[in-house]
């Protein structure tokens, strides 16, 4: 009798401990009150997303140069014909002045569009890298991490936008992105892009995102570091 009880107890504990989803969700235990809970300010949020984007860009940089080093030995620039990135359709400011001329809402929207557009392609990239023998697991782990980071960054930027909206800094023109925004990385010729092209395009886009976020931050919360 006691044995079966023990077994039941162990089973219960195991069930409680093992989370089938594998993710830990965290719910804020304090609301907007100041009592004992550190609600991050907009500047803090901005700092976080900027750091996050910097990490993401450096990761993509590493992957791209690894790829270049091992799979494209010829340093001959001539002959490298880049196909268009699938995000070329998104109109992005190509310089500082253009980015500064853009309104906050539009800039935020551009960032979100870019991040959204990379959700599926990064997943595909990880899949294809994991399946190829050429890559070691280290590289494909980096690709997975990169995909996660992009996902997290998008969430972070959405939070920032939300906070800005709450604080009245943003108009209501920033709408939630529908699933239609998520684009597939198909180039002009209709073929899927190769891993190298994807990496190149993502490297460029992550640099864009980082720069836009910094411009946005110094425009909205210029107190420190600007």
């Amino acid at each position: 009798m006691s044995r079966s009880l023990k077994q039941v107890a162990v089973l219960l504990v195991a069930l409680l401990c093992l989370d089938p989803h594998g993710r830990v969700g965290s719910a804020p235990i304090c609301t907007h009150g100041p009592s004992g809970c550190h609600v991050p300010s907009l500047a803090d949020l901005f700092d976080r997303v900027i750091q996050h984007s910097a990490r993401m860009h450096s990761l993509s940089n590493d992957l791209h140069s690894e790829f270049e080093q091992y799979f494209l030995p010829s340093k001959n620039h001539i002959g490298k014909i880049y196909r268009k990135c699938h995000t070329s359709n998104i109109l992005t400011p190509n310089g500082k002045e253009n980015a500064q001329k853009l309104a906050r809402e539009e800039l935020t929207e551009v960032i979100l569009k870019l991040l959204m557009a990379w959700r599926d392609p990064l997943f595909q990239l990880h899949q294809s890298m994991a399946h190829q023998q050429d890559f070691n697991s280290f590289s494909s782990n980096k690709a997975l991490e990169m995909g996660d980071m992009a996902h997290e960054l998008r969430k972070g930027v959405e939070k920032v936008a939300e906070k800005m909206r709450v604080l009245g800094m943003l108009g209501n023109s920033v709408t939630g992105l529908s699933a239609a925004e998520a684009m597939l990385p198909i180039s002009d010729s209709g073929e899927a892009m190769s891993d190298y092209e994807l990496l190149y395009c993502f490297r460029r886009d992550s640099n864009k995102v980082q720069n836009y976020l910094k411009i946005l931050k110094c425009r909205i919360v210029p107190e420190h570091d600007c």
Binding site: H57, I78, Y82, Q100, K208, K214, K217, R219, D225
Partner: protein, 589 residues
């Protein structure tokens, strides 16, 4: 259409491949230019079919140009004579051309794009290195094309960045777009095209070095340091957040010429840096560099020098040296002393724990297994002498209750040399009682004594007790002696209760124990005994021996017996009273 026989080549980019296969010639030059779309026909250069080519189609405003630039070439003599006719014709043509030029002129040499840099991620500049000029005045033009567009543009500014450079201002710079750039050198005899270069501005960001690097030395008493300060490079825009600058500082002592001696420190985003504890008397050179985000590091700024004065921390040094030397000397001395006097020091520090020993018991004998010898060794003359050592403690406390006690004290002769005469029973009783007494505090004893006043006796008792208790050193002499009977009885009682021997009892007032000392008076030497005389062992210091005792002892035994009888009868003996008192104590306590 192509005209292969004549060697005059008119070719469109699409036909180039078949055209390439058609001619077999060897030549050192692999340059081509073909014209198209305007009716202009120009042909220049010769090529070998082994040259790998890259075809570009350019459209310069007003002129359509078809450019073939060749990356590497291999001389092929295999098919040399296939079209010898044309080959010869061409060669003649060429040699005539070159011969006519040979006096000192030749077509322009091929330039080479060396580097492109953007100092602030808003503009960029490209530099090239000219090839040979061929003796004739040569002009250079830079053409570029943007990603996924066919339109060709020329450099907007040739002069701002110096000779052989092209500066792209903000209006003409687009980040995150690939530029395809070529430089063309042309003189009266010909043009030469450089190799095309593809760049993206985000990859070529390299700032200028930081400015106004200066170093100041601060002499703090405890921690001298020098402070390096600088200003950011002039054109980097951090205010709008477009770029983030990170700095790095390096320094070395100027005395050594070695390049390896630089020490580098990362300074983050700050504009100053402190170096602590510099070497006194040294001359330092300090340099700073920076980079923007993930770009390239700038050049090192020009060195700033500083001379550290000599006298810092001299006193500190001296003090340290002296203290270290002293410590070392002390240590060595201690080590020497220890090695020499190991044992005494060890004994001093760790006193040896006394092992339990039975005096006279030889463990070696035990091992040998001869029991008689062992036990004979155990039996010492004069046994049992209970209080052999001064720290031997006894549970007895014997108290007088008679005036005669004083006399007895004075007389204090123990003729009874054997404590063992005293009767066991008495001894036991009294010993028990006295044990109980001793268990009480001395104070209790005093008070209880006072409660049970028996005229003089008790007071005497009291005094005796108090004297006993109050002065632990006082010695009570208890005897099983011959003196007046009463007293004797008393004494025998007392003595029966007391120790068996001549020992004096020292009450240990504090603990309630009574110490029994060896008698200080003259005594007759105790009679040697052996264990065959032992009839009973009462406690660990009382042995009752049998009859082989001197006459006196016998008497005393008798005495005791009588007194015991008196006890048992509960008569009015004072001893009995005393006993009662004693018992009262114990019951009352």
């Amino acid at each position: 259409m192509s005209n292969k026989e004549e060697g005059v080549h008119l070719v469109s980019p699409e036909q180039l491949s078949e055209f390439l296969n058609g001619i077999t010639l060897t030549h050192t030059v692999c340059l081509w230019q073909c014209a198209n779309f305007g009716g202009d026909i120009a042909s220049e250069g010769l090529f070998s079919p082994k040259c790998s080519t890259y075809v570009e189609y350019w459209k310069i405003t007003g002129e359509a140009v078809c450019v073939i630039s060749v990356t590497d070439w291999v001389v092929d003599t295999g098919k040399m004579w296939r079209d010898a006719k044309q080959a010869l014709a061409l060669m003649l043509l060429l040699s005539w051309v070159s011969h006519s030029m040979c006096k000192s002129f030749s077509p322009a040499g091929r330039p080479r794009l060396t580097t492109c840099r953007s100092p602030e991620k808003e503009t960029f500049t490209c530099w090239w290195k000219p090839g040979s000029t061929g003796g004739l005045p040569t002009s250079y033009h830079l053409y570029y094309r943007k990603e996924s567009s066919l339109e060709v543009f020329e450099c907007p500014d040739y002069h701002k960045a110096g000779n052989n450079s092209c500066y792209f201002d903000k209006r003409h710079t687009s980040i995150w777009i690939i530029y395809n750039i070529t430089v063309v050198a042309s003189n009266a005899l010909g043009k030469a095209y450089s190799e095309s270069v593809e760049i993206d501005v985000m990859d070529i960001v390299q700032p200028h070095p930081p400015e106004n690097v200066n170093v100041t030395f601060t002499q703090n008493a405890n921690s001298p340091y020098f402070l390096v300060r600088w200003r950011p490079p002039r054109d980097a825009d951090t205010r709008s957040g477009w770029v983030t600058i990170k700095y790095e500082v390096r320094l070395k002592i100027e005395n050594s010429r070695d390049e390896e001696d630089w020490e580098s420190y990362s300074a983050g985003k700050q504009l100053e840096f402190s170096i602590y504890s510099p070497q006194p008397g040294a001359n330092y050179a300090v340099q700073v560099r920076c980079k923007l985000d993930q770009g390239l590091w700038s050049e090192w700024s020009p060195s700033a020098f500083i001379q550290i004065p000599d006298n810092i921390s001299d006193t500190q040094n001296a003090v340290m040296i002296i203290s270290v030397t002293l410590t070392v000397i002390i240590f060595m001395l201690t080590a020497g002393v220890l090695t020499v006097k190991m044992k005494p020091v060890k004994h001093f520090l760790l006193p040896p724990v006394p092992e339990p020993k039975i005096s006279g018991l030889d463990t070696q004998l035990l091992k040998s297994g001869k029991s008689e010898e062992i036990f004979s060794a155990l039996i010492t003359p004069g046994y049992p002498q209970i209080a052999q050592s001064p720290d031997h403690q006894v549970e007895y406390l014997v108290v007088y209750d008679y005036d005669e006690e004083m006399d007895f004290n004075d007389k204090a002769h123990l003729e009874n040399q054997k404590g063992e005469n005293c009767l066991t029973d008495n001894a036991r009783k009294v010993s028990q009682n006295s044990i109980q007494i001793t268990l009480n505090s001395s104070q209790d004893l005093n008070t209880t004594l006072s409660e049970h006043v028996h005229a003089g006796t008790v007071s005497n008792q009291l005094s005796g007790t108090s004297s006993v208790l109050g002065e632990p050193q006082q010695q009570l002499h208890l005897y099983c002696n011959g003196t007046p009977v009463k007293a004797q009885d008393q004494n025998t009682h007392m003595s029966s209760g007391s120790q068996f021997e001549q020992g004096t009892i020292n009450p240990a007032g504090l603990t309630g124990y009574v110490e029994v000392d060896k008698q200080k008076r003259d005594q007759k030497p105790p009679v040697e005994e052996d264990y065959s005389m032992v009839s009973e062992v009462i406690s660990d210091n009382i042995l009752v021996l049998q009859d082989s005792i001197p006459v006196q002892v016998h008497k005393e035994v008798k005495c005791d017996k009588t007194s015991i009888k008196a006890e048992e009868m509960g008569g009015g003996f004072e001893p009995l009273e005393y006993l009662e008192t004693l018992t009262t104590f114990s019951s009352g306590s």
